[in-house]
């Protein structure tokens, strides 16, 4: 009788001890899973390793300067105004190239998507030109424009054009024909049909094009600024290379990365707003 009472008690205390340690590990795992800081763990470790490596002389200063040195040169260039000036120039170039190339591409994508005549007139030509990599035009563009502003604008606009064009065109074409028929049967005019059915229907695809184009935009700008420019982040990096200022070169790379990230985040934000109805963009999704 007393045995029978004693045994289960011991059993349950052992059982209680076991889940407790499990619980702790589970709790830790859950914290790692849920914390907002978790994704930043690895970059911080890498940064620390980099700093230690540079300080102990494991990584030579000429190859990779310490993060602190990069931060210091960023500060120095900010004070002198050179950094702000170069960023502003690069940013303006990127945006104007994007606006010109993307704008024309958007208009053409829409008109070719909506009108068969427009498509037959221009699509074949555009598809042929599409096979030219925009960076292969650099020598030609330098011949045409020298290292003037137009050279960078042209290359960026050219690179941005195709992703925007193709995704707009396919977005318009992929709009549900049944919805268009519905709109017609309810007496929508062509303009209303376009505004309320075709354009919103094409929007998810258009955003894909824009985000893809942004990547190309920065890439084109980096290359063209490194080769032929007298200002801008790329120019700053190339000049620093001549004077062996590795810290400035690294800084330029980081700035490109930051600019790219900012632009992408802005578009994501826009996307989430404009596509709030879309099951994959609605609230709660990234």
């Amino acid at each position: 009788m007393s045995d029978a009472v004693f045994n289960p008690g011991e059993e349950s205390s052992r059982l209680a001890a076991l889940p407790l340690s499990l619980l702790n590990r589970d709790a830790l795992a859950a914290r790692v899973r849920q914390s907002r800081l978790t994704p930043w763990l690895l970059p911080c470790l890498l940064l620390a390793a980099w700093q230690i490596g540079a300080q102990t002389g494991l990584i030579s200063d000429d190859i990779l300067p310490a993060p602190v040195d990069v931060a210091f040169s960023a500060w120095r260039l900010t004070l002198s105004g050179a950094l702000g000036h170069n960023i502003a120039i690069s940013f303006r170039r990127a945006m104007s190239g994007f606006a010109i190339g993307g704008g024309i591409a958007f208009a053409l994508g829409l008109s070719n998507g909506v009108s068969r005549i427009s498509e037959r007139l221009t699509d074949t030509t555009l598809q042929m030109v599409r096979n030219i990599p925009n960076l292969s035009l650099i020598p030609l563009v330098i011949l045409w424009f020298g290292i003037e502003e137009q050279a960078k604008l042209f290359l960026t606009a050219f690179g941005v054009f195709f992703p925007v064009y193709i995704n707009t065109f396919h977005g318009v074409r992929a709009v549900d024909a049944q919805l268009i028929e519905m709109g017609r049967s309810y007496g929508m005019t062509r303009w209303t049909l376009f505004r309320r059915v075709v354009l919103p229907g094409a929007l998810p695809s258009i955003f894909v094009g824009i985000r893809y184009a942004l990547g190309i935009m920065w890439l084109t700008l980096i290359v063209s600024e490194s080769i032929a420019a007298d200002a801008g982040i790329g120019h700053m990096a190339m000049q620093a290379r001549e004077f062996m200022q590795t810290d400035v070169v690294v800084l330029a790379i980081l700035i490109y990365a930051a600019l790219g990230k900012i632009a992408d985040s802005l578009v994501r934000l826009l996307e989430r707003r404009a596509l709030a109805w879309h099951p994959s963009f609605g609230k709660g999704r990234r």
């Binding site: 049944q178 919805l179 028929e181 519905m182 709109g183 017609r184 049967s185 309810y186 007496g187 929508m188 005019t189 209303t192 309320r196 059915v197 919103p200 229907g201 929007l203 596509l275 709030a276 109805w277 879309h278 099951p279 609605g282």
Partner: protein
């Protein structure tokens, strides 16, 4: 409440010798059909016999190859309900309903809300269509079709994709709004019992012609599974099935 006179609110129509060809395919080969104002007509027939084609011509979405379609005097705008709800996913439910007011209707929030209330979905006005169930979507489509108070409602298997229970609910709703508003209704359906439950008349299309046209004079509301409906359903199903081997298209 002002009572609606069926003879003036619904629109009558008369079809004579209507033919429709798609290339070499003769789909409709001389349809003669009269629909009285405010009548509820169901069209049945085998798949591919041309029911949708006929309905689209009646609703003015397509043109006949031959023959005449005469509509009663006055506003002859038709509204069409499809098997799919066809709601704009990027417009809130209420805005989808407002589309039904048509190009000239503009934005009339009060009427849109009233139409939503009629289908029992007032609380979903600001929801995205993507968050609704199939039956709810079809109810929004019904509200959109009815918000402009059409005199003719064409329905192409609007309940075909719904589960059995939702379907029975929707049939009740359809009958109710029809009795309140007294538009002329032409319903294409695969479901013979649905036709018998709702319609004043059941028209069967076969080989591109009207093969059978029987009035259903049972009192309303009719009950699913009642003996009279069952007997009529047997007769019609026998006719549909019995004619199967004779068909070539």
């Amino acid at each position: 409440m002002n009572a609606i006179n069926p003879a003036t609110h619904g629109i009558g129509m008369s079809v004579r010798g209507l033919r429709k060809r798609f290339g070499a395919l003769d789909v409709l080969r001389g349809i003669d059909l009269d629909v009285a104002a405010g009548e509820f007509v169901a069209i049945i027939g085998r798949s591919g016999c041309g029911k949708s084609t006929l309905l689209r011509i009646l609703a003015g979405l397509d043109q006949a190859s031959e023959g005449t379609l005469r509509l009663g005097a006055g506003d002859s705008r038709a509204r069409l309900m499809f098997q799919e709800p066809r709601l704009l996913p990027w417009a809130h439910v209420i805005d989808n309903v407002e589309i039904g007011l048509g190009a000239d209707g503009g934005k009339d929030h009060v009427r849109a809300v009233a139409a939503l209330r009629a289908v029992g979905l007032t609380d979903k006005a600001k929801a995205w269509p993507g968050t609704l169930s199939g039956g709810q979507k079809q109810r929004v489509a019904l509200a959109r079709a009815l918000v402009s108070r059409p005199r003719f409602l064409a329905l192409d298997e609007p309940l075909g994709a719904l589960d059995a229970l939702t379907r029975i609910e929707m049939q009740g709703l359809l009958e109710q709004v029809w009795q309140e508003q007294r538009f002329t209704a032409v319903l294409v359906t695969h479901d013979v019992s649905e036709a018998l439950l709702l319609a004043d008349r059941v028209v069967m299309i076969e080989s591109g012609e009207v093969a059978m046209d029987i009035p259903i004079s049972l009192p309303r509301p009719r009950r699913h599974g009642s003996a009279e409906l069952g007997a009529l359903e047997d007769v019609i199903l026998d006719r549909l099935l019995g004619s199967a081997p004779a068909r070539s298209v």
